[in-house]
C-alpha cells in the first residue's frame, strides 16, 4: 500500500535492495558508448588532461602570436644587442604597485669586449597593456592592425627574455617561432599517418606478397639511422627554394622515416580484425574492401593510432630542432625554435648570453606535454580492462 506522507514524497513500498541498485549502475556503465568510457578514464589521468589543455591553448593561440608579442619578430634594435632579460616588476619603491619595468641601457665594455647592461632602478616605466604599438601586421591575414596585449613602454624597451645578436626580441621570436616549430610535427605526423595507414592496411588486409613486401620495407626503413638520413635528405633541398617550401619539405622528410611503427601496428590490428565475424559477414554480403576497411575496421583501431601518433610528434619537433640547429633545416628568414637555438651553437653563448637558450624551455614543455597526453590516451583506450 502506498501511503502519502505530509511532504508529498513518493515512497516505494518494497525494501531498498542495495545489490540491485549497484548492478543497475554497473549496467549503465557497461552500456555507455565506448567514447564516454574512454573519456571518463582519460579524465582520471590528471597529467594527461593538463597537458591536453595546455596543448589545445597554445595551438589555438598560434594564429594570434603577433598579438602576444611586444615587437615584430624581425625588428632590429641596434642599440640593444645581446641585451639580457629586462626586469619586470609588479611592485617597487620607485613606482609602487603595477606592472612596470625600468630604463635600461646597453653599453659596450671596452675592457672585456662584451656588451653590458645597466638598469636604472630609479626610472620606472609603466608597461602599457592592450594597446596599439610598433609595426603593423595582418591579423589572420584579414585586416591590418598593430594591436598588442603587451607593448614596450614609451621611452623604453621591453625585452622580457633579452635580445639576440641582431638586437631582436627573443620573446617575440619565440612566440613567432612556435608557428613553424609546432606545425612541423603535425604535418610530419599526417604524412607518416597516411603512409602507415595505407601500407599497413594493405599488408594486413590482403596479406600474401603485399604483406611480405611491406614487412621487408618496414624492416629496411627501421634499420636506417634516422638522423643521418634526415641530414642527407635535408641537404638535398635546393638552396634557392623559398622558406615555405623548405618548411613543407622538412616536415615531409621528418614524416618519411616515421611510418614503419604505425604501419606495423595497423597491420597487426588488421590481421586480428579480419577474423572477426562481422567482417566475414560484410564480405559475404558483397561489401567492397574499401567499405569493409573504412566502415567496419577503421573505427575499431583509430583511437589506438591517434594515441601512437601523439607519441610520435615529440620526435619530429626534436628532429626539426636538431636539423635547424645544424643549419640543414629551416632557413633564416623563417623563425623556428631550432633556428633560434642555432645561435647558441657554441659554448661562449652558454657562458655569456645564456638567455639565447630560452627556446629550449618551450621545446621541453611541448615535448613533455605530448608525451603525457599520449600516455594518458593510451591508458584510457582500453576502458573495459
Amino acid at each position: 500500500m502506498t501511503k502519502i506522507d505530509p511532504d508529498r514524497h513518493f515512497i516505494a513500498k518494497d525494501d531498498y535492495d542495495e545489490a540491485a541498485d549497484l548492478q543497475a549502475l554497473d549496467r549503465a556503465d557497461l552500456d555507455a558508448p565506448t567514447w564516454v568510457l574512454i573519456w571518463r578514464r582519460f579524465l582520471r589521468h590528471k597529467l594527461g588532461v593538463v597537458s591536453g589543455v595546455y596543448l589545445l591553448v597554445i595551438y589555438l593561440a598560434l594564429p594570434f602570436v603577433d598579438v602576444l608579442s611586444p615587437y615584430h619578430y624581425a625588428e632590429r634594435n641596434e642599440n640593444h644587442i645581446y641585451a639580457p632579460p629586462q626586469p619586470v616588476r609588479l611592485w617597487s619603491e620607485a613606482y609602487g604597485f603595477g606592472l612596470h619595468t625600468f630604463v635600461t641601457e646597453e653599453k659596450f665594455d671596452v675592457e672585456t669586449f662584451q656588451m653590458g647592461s645597466i638598469v636604472d632602478w630609479s626610472q620606472p616605466l609603466k608597461i602599457p597593456l592592450f594597446q596599439s604599438c610598433g609595426s603593423t601586421y595582418h591579423l589572420l591575414g584579414l585586416f591590418e592592425t598593430s594591436f598588442r596585449f603587451i607593448c614596450p613602454p614609451k621611452g623604453g624597451t621591453l625585452f622580457i627574455l633579452g635580445t639576440d645578436r641582431l638586437g631582436r626580441d627573443v620573446h617575440s621570436r619565440i612566440m613567432h617561432g612556435a608557428q613553424l616549430s609546432l606545425t612541423v610535427g603535425l604535418i610530419g605526423v599526417a604524412v607518416s599517418f597516411a603512409i602507415g595507414l595505407v601500407l599497413g592496411g594493405m599488408a594486413g588486409y590482403f596479406g600474401g606478397w603485399i604483406d611480405s613486401l611491406t614487412m621487408r620495407a618496414i624492416e629496411i626503413i627501421r634499420s636506417l639511422p634516422e638522423l643521418p638520413i634526415w641530414l642527407a635528405l635535408a641537404a638535398a633541398i635546393p638552396a634557392n627554394w623559398g622558406p615555405v617550401s623548405v618548411f613543407f619539405l622538412i616536415s615531409i622528410i621528418l614524416g618519411l622515416l616515421d611510418w614503419p611503427g604505425l604501419a606495423r601496428a595497423v597491420r597487426s590490428k588488421f590481421l586480428a580484425l579480419r577474423e572477426e565475424d562481422y567482417v566475414k559477414a560484410a564480405e559475404l554480403m558483397g561489401a567492397r574492401p574499401t567499405r569493409i576497411i573504412g566502415a567496419h575496421m577503421m573505427p575499431n583501431f583509430m583511437s589506438h593510432l591517434v594515441a601512437s601518433a601523439t607519441l610520435s610528434i615529440p620526435a619530429m619537433i626534436l628532429g626539426e630542432t636538431a636539423l635547424s640547429f645544424l643549419g640543414l633545416g629551416l632557413r633564416p628568414p623563417a623563425v623556428s625554435w631550432g633556428l633560434m637555438l642555432n645561435d647558441a651553437l657554441d659554448l661562449t653563448v652558454v657562458e655569456i648570453y645564456p638567455w639565447l637558450l630560452m627556446p629550449l624551455v618551450p621545446v621541453i614543455m611541448v615535448v613533455l606535454a605530448f608525451s603525457f597526453l599520449g600516455d594518458g590516451l593510451r591508458d584510457a583506450l582500453d576502458p573495459y580492462s
Partner: protein
C-alpha cells in the same frame, strides 16, 4: 642455431643491398657533386689546367656515366675505368674535398665511433637495469617518481643542448674536459694508460648525453614488464615459501622481464647512432658524425655515401647481435628458428 645465424646473415646482406640503393639515390638527389661544382667554379675563373684535372677525376671515378651505371661501379658490379674496383673489391672511393681515400678517413674515425657507441650501450644497460628494476619493485614511491623524472627529462631535452649544457656545467663543477676525443697532447701518440684514461674522461659527458634518451625508454619498458611479472602467483608462492625478497625478484621475474629488454637493442642502436652523430658535431668528438655533415654539405658523394652505408651496416650488425642474444636466452625462438618475438 648455426643455420639460424646463417639465415639471418643472408637476409642482412639483402637488406644492406637495398639500403645501398636507397643511400645512393639519396646522396644523388641534389644536382651535381663536389667535382662538377668545382668545375663550374673553375670555369668562372678560367683555370684550364685545374679544369682538365677535375674532368679527368670525373672520368676516373666514372661520375660522367648514367646514374645506374655509377651505382654499379660504386658497388663493384660493373667495370669502371680500371676494371672492377668498387666496394666489393675493397675500394671505397675517394674524397675529393679532403683529397684522401675514403677508407683512410673513415678508418681514423671508426674506432672512436664504435667504441663510443659500445660504451653508450653499456651505460644504458648498466643504468636502466637497476633503475628500472628498482622503479618496479618500489612502484609509486619516490624512487619510482625520480626514475620517471630522469626518464622524462632524457626524453624531452634535445640531445645537442643537453650536450652543450652538460659540457659547460660539467667543466665548471667537476672540471670535465670540454669537447674533443682526448687531451691535445695525446693526439697521434701510441696508446698508453694515460691516453686511455684521457679518452675515458672525455667520453663521460657524451656517453651520458647520448645514453639518457635510450635509457629512459628502456627503463620504462623494464618497469612495465617487471610489474606485470611481479603480480603473478608464482612470485607470491616464492615469497610464501621463504625465498628472500631480492632472490624472489632476481631469480625468475627479472629474467622473464629481461627478454624484451635484449630484443630492444635493435631499436636502441639506430637511435644511439643517430644521437652520436649530432652530439659529436656539438662536442667536436672525432667520430664520423662531423665528417658526414661536412661531406653532405659539400656533396662529396663517395665519402657521405660510404659513411651512411657504414652507419647503416653498424646498425644491422647490432640488430643481428640482439637477435642472436635473444635466441641464446630464449629457447622458444632458438627451437622454432624464427625471430618471431624479436621485435
Amino acid at each position: 642455431m648455426l643455420a639460424y645465424i646463417l639465415r639471418r646473415c643472408v637476409t642482412m646482406a639483402g637488406t644492406l643491398a637495398v639500403i645501398s640503393v636507397l643511400i645512393f639515390a639519396i646522396i644523388n638527389l641534389p644536382e651535381g657533386n663536389y667535382l662538377t661544382n668545382q668545375i663550374r667554379e673553375l670555369m668562372a675563373t678560367g683555370e684550364q689546367g685545374s679544369i682538365a684535372k677535375a674532368q679527368f677525376l670525373l672520368a676516373q671515378y666514372s661520375l660522367d656515366r648514367p646514374l645506374w651505371e655509377q651505382y654499379l661501379v660504386w658497388v663493384g658490379l660493373w667495370p669502371g675505368p680500371d676494371g672492377f674496383s668498387g666496394m666489393l673489391q675493397g675500394n671505397f672511393g675517394y674524397s675529393f674535398e679532403l683529397d684522401r681515400q675514403v677508407y683512410d678517413v673513415v678508418a681514423e674515425a671508426m674506432w672512436f665511433t664504435i667504441g663510443l657507441n659500445l660504451v653508450v650501450v653499456l651505460f644504458v644497460y648498466l643504468t636502466a637495469l637497476p633503475l628500472g628494476a628498482l622503479a618496479a619493485v618500489r612502484a609509486n614511491t619516490w624512487i619510482d617518481y625520480l626514475a620517471a623524472l630522469i626518464g622524462y627529462i632524457g626524453l624531452a631535452t634535445p640531445n645537442f643542448l643537453l650536450a652543450l649544457v652538460l659540457m659547460y656545467y660539467g667543466n665548471k663543477a667537476v672540471g670535465l674536459p670540454i669537447g674533443g676525443g682526448m687531451a691535445r697532447e695525446f693526439i697521434d701518440q701510441p696508446m698508453s694508460l694515460e691516453k686511455f684514461g684521457s679518452i675515458m674522461l672525455h667520453m663521460v659527458a657524451p656517453v651520458v648525453v647520448i645514453g639518457t634518451a635510450g635509457m629512459a625508454g628502456m627503463m620504462r619498458r623494464l618497469r612495465a614488464n617487471l610489474l606485470d611479472e611481479l603480480g603473478k602467483p608464482y612470485v607470491t608462492t616464492a615469497a610464501a615459501k621463504g625465498v628472500s625478497p631480492t632472490r624472489a625478484v632476481i631469480k625468475y621475474p627479472l629474467r622473464m622481464a629481461l627478454n624484451p629488454f635484449i630484443a630492444d637493442i635493435g631499436n636502441l642502436l639506430p637511435q644511439l647512432i643517430s644521437g652520436s652523430v649530432l652530439v659529436s658535431v656539438v662536442m667536436s668528438l672525432p667520430t664520423i658524425g662531423p665528417v658526414l655533415l661536412s661531406a653532405l654539405r659539400s656533396q662529396d658523394i663517395f665519402l657521405s655515401g660510404f659513411i651512411l652505408l657504414f652507419v647503416s651496416a653498424l646498425t644491422l650488425v647490432g640488430m643481428l647481435i640482439s637477435d642472436i642474444l635473444l635466441a641464446v636466452v630464449d629457447p622458444r625462438i632458438r627451437l622454432s628458428g624464427k625471430a618471431g618475438g624479436a621485435r
